[in-house]
């Protein structure tokens, strides 16, 4: 249990949890309300009985057809949605779902790169990356500047440091968002579609960075993606979201050659192109 970064046990998630933020309504009310409205109603259930175990320093890709709740699982892990049932352990520590909130999870150094990057639109790129560092007072101003510059160099956004997010392209925004998460030294990093919106060149640059992060900083990473080749290139296990459940993690090659329904759906074109790889 001590070498686990994350463990999900028998998670149920309702669709009600995904609308809006959790900050307007007191937590107790929304918790009881949510249980009441979705009790005995299977239509609301987006995820039913998902299990997942992530070792420290391990990387995992979650794939599956769109609209089936892949991003919802990341929101759940990041604390932005609460499970109806089930247990979540972060680094071996159990947080009961009444107390589960994004702030509580963020204290345990879990970083989250959102699908649309979600940069703060009235701050420049530098300030965006420095915002959490300044808020948590992680070092003096010099140290913060150094750290921000390092993050910007890593993601190659140094040239756009003085720009506002709306002046950047989608791919660039995503790189800034990854830099922002990286600057916080996360122990567990959740990435929602990191390669969507990136061209081939930047995609190829991004993957070694993710690789570096897990070898140098021992970051555990969960990637939600449509891009199955990431799993092959990062040499990590693939998990599919199938029938409201998460499957067992297996390698890319296992899925490619397996005979299951998922492989037939997801790997059809890959199998037909290269039957012998």
């Amino acid at each position: 249990m001590l070498d686990e970064a994350l463990r999900l046990e028998d998670i149920y998630l309702s669709t009600n949890e995904l609308s809006g933020t959790m900050f307007s309504i007191p937590r107790a009310v929304s918790y009881f309300e949510n249980i009441r409205t979705s009790k005995g109603n299977d239509d609301f259930q987006l995820i039913a009985g998902a299990n997942l175990t992530l070792k420290l320093g391990e990387t995992i890709c979650i794939a599956g057809p769109s609209g089936k709740g892949k991003s919802a699982i990341l929101r759940l892990i990041a604390g932005l949605a609460r499970p109806l049932k089930g247990h979540i352990y972060y680094f071996g520590e159990y947080i009961p779902s009444e107390r589960l909130s994004a702030l509580e999870v963020a204290k345990r150094q879990v970083g989250y790169v959102l699908q649309n990057a979600a940069l703060i639109s009235n701050l420049r790129v530098v300030d965006n990356i420095a915002l959490p560092l300044r808020y948590h007072k992680m070092g003096t101003e010099d140290e913060i500047t150094k750290k921000v510059n390092m993050a910007m160099d890593l993601m190659r956004v140094r040239d756009f440091a003085k720009m506002f997010p709306h002046e950047l392209s989608v791919g660039m925004q995503k790189r800034v968002a990854i830099a922002r998460s990286w600057a916080m030294d996360p122990k567990l990093l959740l990435m929602d579609e990191p390669t969507a919106g990136l061209d081939n060149y930047n995609r190829r640059n991004l993957l070694p960075l993710i690789d570096n992060m897990r070898t140098m900083f021992k970051t555990s990473i969960i990637i939600v993606t449509h891009d199955l080749m990431i799993a092959k290139e990062l040499d990590c296990n693939l998990v599919f979201l199938h029938q409201k459940k998460l499957t067992e993690p297996h390698s890319f090659d296992y899925w490619l050659h397996s005979d299951s329904e998922i492989s037939k759906d997801q790997f059809r074109d890959l199998q037909s192109v290269s039957p012998n790889t």
């Binding site: 995904l18 609308s19 809006g20 933020t21 900050f23 307007s24 309504i25 007191p26 107790a28 009310v29 009881f32 309300e33 249980i35 929101r75 990041a78 604390g79 932005l80 109806l84 049932k85 089930g86 779902s97 909130s101 994004a102 702030l103 999870v105 963020a106 204290k107 879990v110 970083g111 989250y112 959102l114 649309n116 979600a118 940069l119 703060i120 639109s121 915002l131 959490p132 300044r134 808020y135 948590h136 007072k137 968002a177 922002r180 916080m184």
Partner: protein, 292 residues
Amino acid sequence: MEKTRLKNWQKMTPVGRLFHTLGIFILKTRMGQLIALFLRTVASLFDKSHNFKSDSRNIILQTFFTGVEIFPPLFAVATLFGTVVIIYLFSLMGKMGFSNNIGFLIVVIIIRELSPIFTAFLIAGRTGSSLTTYIGSMVIDSEVDALATMGINPIRYLVMPSVIGGTIAMIIMNIIFSTSAIGAGYLVTKGIILFTGNAPNLQITWNALSTEIIKALTKPDFVFAIVKPLIFGIIITINACYQALNIKRDIRQVPKATSRSVIMSFLYIVFTDALFLMYFVKDYMQNLSAII
């Protein structure tokens, strides 16, 4: 999970169960949630990770945003309104034989009642609506979620500076409204007399006006000149932030929430003002019987 929750229920004593039910019931109402948001805002002041420099910068920015940009319309409204009140009072009350009560009436109408209300309306229309759209779009673009996942409490980062800044600006603007209604109102009245060749037949001097007003001012007036805008400012900003944070990931909800924020602010302000009136009712009744 379900079973343990039921167990907790059964563990409660009848009194505890009553309080639990009552608490959930109160928190389910909108008023309860507004009060809860306000209390959480106050609590966020004492968060562990407070950064005085950036917080004070945010608060000052919010104060300027609320105060400076509202000044021209506020000044115009105050001046014209003050003119109307002064002309009516001097022309009508003089005819009816109540001319020794003019100072009292000016204090009641301008300083006590309408200055806080008008300022609150203007600020609700200007700052309340812009706060709702601003935070509402942040909710829709999931910037609020991003803040939370970085460990930044959105209530501290977004709501707290706007509440404090908005309230400070509200207090300052209320004082400016009162002074400009009386001062500039007096000047405009003089201008009207000068232009029309004293057609309304007014005898009005600054000396008489100011001594009358100072004579009529009492201690509660000074207290309420601070307390009223303080409470109105808190109501406006908390309500605006509450409406914004309640938006459900749908861009069409933003204008709806904005108009709701303004209208509800108006309602709450008038309601609270009526409550404040209770303090003065006894006083007014005595005055009324004295006049009669």
